[in-house]
């Protein structure tokens, strides 16, 4: 019979580390990755020799990314592989590490995300299936179309969608790992420059470079290595799904999020009311509204009112994108999903400093990627 992560051995996040997300620089991917991994190992209080398997989430660096980074920690001969799943690469690397530990293949596993910007085209562009618009519709226009339809359906103004960027940049200003660390006003967001439809530059995430690393462990691994149990955060659910055929103009991004999140709630045995924080795929402001509704945090069309009410600010009922999200922390592709796990872990431990969500116990991480794929994890303080 098939099993969920929760029905196998319990899995805990025991170490987190990041290299700051930033605009492309001379820094090599090796330095980016090593910075994050060394921080995660130090956080867990273990050495690289204790890691039994490793997965690297990356989409743009090319073949065989793991070993050129990890050999500098002392080549130990452990199994390593790269995980490419578009924007959800880091989320999927984390899931693979969780599966290794849950299944009993490893007691201690490492998930990394690392990337640097590169002009690498998705495989689908080589399928010889051309549409009418080609490169004239890039992601920001895909989401500008969704914003147009959403605002029309619910009678909203562009400012009500843009308010998401104000909240997330306010959070990002308190995150030393964020690419954008500056609070902005609604006037600044609206002032542009315009990108597509109602979306302005600050309503689109910056894509730069960075790295994130997460160490996961079984109870046996925690006991054997003397890892601090009080700082270990349990993985309640790990779910990933892909798009099926949605008829007509149905918004597949929201539908896929709805299906994947519903399955994660069922596996975790918690619902949206139990969530104290959510890190979601807010690559564009409109996405945060679409996804919180699809996740059942509020009714359809109520997302903008919920943002305006303060209920999803840090200190509110459920903090949305406390890290700054993709809009402020940034979206370096491979690292992003793993970085969400770092933020949720830090918050659930109560170690998030100036951006701490009070009494946070349960958090959800959500990424979507072109294809389309969706990955959702639910974490909880033990």
């Amino acid at each position: 019979m098939k099993k969920t992560i929760r029905e196998m051995r319990p899995v805990y996040v025991v170490g987190i580390g990041l290299h700051k997300y930033q605009y492309m620089s001379e820094t090599t991917f090796v330095t980016l990755g090593l910075t994050a991994v060394r921080e995660a190992l130090a956080d867990a209080g273990i050495g690289f020799r204790d890691i039994e398997s490793a997965y690297t989430g990356t989409a743009l660096l090319g073949m065989a990314v793991s070993r050129p980074i990890l050999r500098h920690l002392g080549a130990s001969g452990i199994p390593m592989a790269q995980v490419e799943n578009a924007s959800a690469s880091g989320s999927t690397a984390f899931r693979q590490a969780c599966i290794d530990v849950a299944s009993g293949i490893s007691d201690i596993a490492l998930a990394i995300g690392v990337d640097k910007p590169a002009p690498l085209a998705p495989a689908a562009s080589k399928a010889n299936i051309r549409d009418l618009v080609g490169a004239r519709v890039v992601p920001f226009t895909h989401f500008a179309l969704l914003a147009n339809e959403y605002m029309n359906r619910y009678g909203l103004k562009p400012e009500q969608v843009a308010a998401v960027a104000v909240k997330n940049n306010r959070n990002g200003a308190k995150n030393p790992y964020a690419q954008r660390q500056k609070a902005v006003t609604l006037e600044e967001v609206m002032a542009g420059p315009p990108i597509s439809g109602s979306l302005t530059r600050l309503q689109c995430c910056p894509v730069g470079e960075g790295a994130a690393a997460v160490v996961v462990a079984s109870e046996e691994g925690i006991a054997r290595l003397g890892i601090d149990r009080k700082r270990a955060i349990k993985v309640l659910a790990s779910v990933t799904r892909t798009e099926h055929v949605y008829r007509g103009a149905k918004n597949f991004d929201a539908e896929l999020t709805r299906e994947t999140t519903a399955q994660a709630y069922e596996e975790a045995g918690v619902g949206p009311k139990a969530l104290d924080l959510i890190e979601l795929h807010d690559a564009f402001t409109i996405e945060e509204l679409l996804y919180v509704e699809a996740m059942g945090l509020c009714a359809e069309g109520e997302g903008a009112a919920m943002i305006a009410s303060g209920a999803v600010d840090i200190g509110g009922k459920c903090a949305l994108s406390a890290s700054g999200g993709l809009l402020a922390m940034g979206h370096p592709i491979g690292p992003t999903g793993a970085g969400q796990i770092c933020e949720i872990t830090r918050q659930l431990r109560g170690e998030a400093g100036a951006r701490q969500q009070p009494n946070a116990r349960t958090g959800l991480a959500h990424m979507v990627g072109i294809g389309a794929v969706c990955v959702v994890h639910i974490l909880q303080k033990s």
């Binding site: 549409d131 618009v133 004239r136 500008a144 339809e149 008829r247």
Partner: protein
């Protein structure tokens, strides 16, 4: 129109009201655009169960966005601003197309739309290239 060449002859016909070249699964009835012959996305039917069908280029505007930021590496292609529409065709599929309207002025969600061929530069032999765009169907038509 002998001196005009279609930008994407695999996707539409050369009529003044161009028809879209789509695909249909003979097993489950799924109609899809753009066309492909790899297998049915809805039911998995094999390539020989997929047939070519033409769709009338008419439908309703579902959403639109004027693109202000666009990088054309050649520098010879389309320059911003231009407007993209998501159109639900009368036969069911939703497709994205450039609109004849350069900006969103006067456009409303729910507008009736139809296909036209619009000039899009010249080819190496100096012939006029035309490409499919949608435009608002005026009530008087």
């Amino acid at each position: 129109m002998p001196d005009e060449v279609l930008a994407q002859p695999a996707l539409y016909t050369a009529n003044a009201a161009p028809r879209l070249k789509a695909g249909r699964c003979t097993k489950c009835g799924y109609v899809f655009f753009p066309p492909q012959t790899y297998g049915c996305e809805s039911c998995g039917a094999l390539p020989d169960q997929l047939e070519a069908v033409e769709l009338a280029g008419s439908g309703k505007l579902h959403s639109f966005a004027t693109v202000h930021h666009h990088q054309d590496r050649s520098g010879k292609g389309l320059q911003a601003p231009f407007t993209v529409g998501l159109i639900v065709l009368d036969e069911g599929p939703a497709i994205r197309s450039l609109l004849l309207e350069r900006t969103d002025e006067g456009l409303r969600i729910g507008d009736r739309m139809h296909s036209v061929l619009a000039p899009a530069g010249t080819d190496d032999a100096g012939k006029q290239i035309v490409e499919l765009r949608f435009t608002k169907t005026e009530a008087a038509r």
